[in-house]
């Protein structure tokens, strides 16, 4: 009994050790986003609150938490409050299987990739419910767009994952990383280069970020699914969106960029050994791409998004599944070489 209680407490501590830094990371990522986009617009970005504006994110959090949550008339109260939680829970739950370093993972389950696919798809239910429960046509439109978009890009994303699975021969994320060991050229980005691009772009589309942000579409449908949300309910959606972005950045690093592995040979001492910091550095670079995209590209038209997903990504992914199979069959790419 006591042993079980201790196990529960120990697991809870591990969960907190992931979630708390994640929430801080989301806050700092929002700050970093505003800063980077500001620089790319030849502005300065937030620079008033704290040194270099570093406290801006925390000021925003306090502001959001202190604001009133307005519930629209005729909105379904139960679903209205359930939706943000449904969006946030999968975004946080997906982090359970992320291997931060060799053996440093909360749940080292063998169906890790399947679990991730399930969790990242669950998030869209929160968005659909939010759109429907708000009793607003903008919110409903945004939710419909988001649902259609996620369904289309899920396919390309899944096929890209199949390529990784074929080469790694495992659904376990830690095994996928160890299958890439052996230096920069053994990482899966090289044999699966088109898939790495497809996976990341689908990830951008899945998280409803620019240039695929038609679900929010400020200039068309105000703010899309969260137009009626304010205060801490809005903060939950915000948190979920940014947690998902960071998740996609980590996943791209793990699946295609060698996870915690070092790009340098092991003889180089400290920087030659794989560690959490390599994963962090890779994820930071990938996450920066999200912001870079947002500052660079205008929003896709809705039919163009569908065209890109169905007519470009899925055919490329299908062909590359075959290529990956051939690479594996003829031992051109051997895992863990």
């Amino acid at each position: 009994m006591l042993a079980e209680l201790l196990l529960v407490l120990w697991t809870l501590a591990k969960v907190l050790a992931i979630v708390l830094p994640l929430v801080i990371a989301v806050a700092m990522f929002v700050y970093w986003e505003r800063k980077v986009i500001g620089w790319m617009h030849v502005r300065m970005g937030p620079n008033q609150i704290g040194p270099l504006g570093l406290m801006q994110a925390f000021a925003d959090v306090v502001k959001l938490l202190l604001k009133e949550i307005v519930v629209p008339t005729n909105a379904n109260r139960f679903l209205f409050f359930l939706a943000p939680m449904l969006a946030l829970v999968p975004a946080l739950a997906a982090w359970a299987v992320i291997p931060f370093s060799d053996g440093l993972v909360l749940a080292n389950i063998n169906a890790g990739v399947l679990y991730l696919l399930a969790m990242t798809s669950m998030g869209v239910y929160g968005i659909i419910l939010a759109g429907w429960a708000s009793n607003s046509r903008y919110a409903l439109l945004g939710a419909m767009r988001s649902a259609a978009q996620v369904v289309s890009y899920e396919l390309a994303m899944g096929l890209a994952l199949v390529c990784v699975l074929v080469l790694a021969g495992s659904l376990n994320l830690s095994d996928i990383v160890t299958a890439q060991s052996g230096g920069l050229l053994h990482w899966f980005w090289l044999p699966l280069l088109p898939m790495a691009v497809v996976y990341f772009i689908s990830g951008v589309a899945e998280t409803n970020r620019a240039p695929f942000d038609v679900a929010e579409g400020e200039s068309e449908i105000v703010a899309g699914f969260h137009v009626e949300y304010s205060g801490s309910a809005f903060a939950l959606f915000f948190l979920a969106e940014y947690a998902n972005m960071i998740l996609v950045a980590f996943l791209t690093s793990i699946l295609f960029l060698g996870g915690w592995l070092s790009p340098f040979p092991a003889t180089w001492g400290l920087i030659g050994h794989g560690s959490f910091f390599w994963l962090l550095a890779k994820a930071f670079v990938v996450a920066f791409l999200f912001l870079w995209f947002r500052a660079s590209f205008p929003r896709y038209r809705y039919d163009q998004i569908m065209r890109l997903g169905w007519k470009v990504f899925i055919p490329i992914a299908l062909v590359w599944v075959l290529v990956a199979g051939l690479l594996k069959y003829f031992h051109i790419v051997a895992p863990g070489a």
Partner: protein, 162 residues
């Protein structure tokens, strides 16, 4: 052939990468932002801000109550009453500018034969009570006394063109 090359170009995301290169180059450019309360942009010496009445170096006020500024003022913002002073000189007894009416055109300054009414570089001021928008003669003279050095310097710089 043309279609094939175009298709390949769009597939390799060449134009998108070009655009990203442009935004990356802009990221490191110096920023245009002026952090206003801490930093100020330089003002022209002809800048037309808050009004002031000037004095001669010996302390005598310049204004001789000719009322040219009152006459030229397109917004009818200036009100002047005058009377002989004890030494027999004509002086203003009342010189008021309604800053809500004033359009800061600078005609009063141009019309003044003795360079008495001027517009200073001060543009950061506020009113807290109704009625404070009408600045009186003592207030205008005080502003002039306070900023006399800046006013004189700006007029000296512009002297060749006046």
């Amino acid at each position: 052939m043309n279609r094939v090359t175009r298709y390949l170009k769009s597939l390799l995301l060449l134009e998108l990468l070009q655009g990203m290169g442009l935004t990356m180059a802009y990221m490191f450019k110096p920023k245009y932002t002026m952090r206003y309360p801490m930093e100020h942009i330089p003002k022209s010496n002809r800048f037309r801000g808050l009004h002031a009445l000037r004095r001669y170096p010996n302390g005598e006020e310049r204004c001789i109550a000719c009322k040219l500024c009152e006459a030229v003022c397109p917004a009818l913002a200036i009100t002047i009453d005058s009377a002989p002073r004890a030494d027999g000189q004509r002086r203003t007894t009342r010189y008021e500018i309604d800053l809500f009416k004033c359009i800061f055109c600078g005609f009063c300054e141009e019309s003044c034969p003795v360079d008495s009414i001027v517009e200073t570089h001060v543009h950061e001021y506020h009113f807290e009570q109704r009625g404070e928008n009408v600045v009186t003669k003592p207030q205008l003279l005080a502003i002039g006394d306070r900023f006399e050095r800046d006013i004189a310097a700006a007029r000296a710089q512009d002297a060749a063109f006046r």
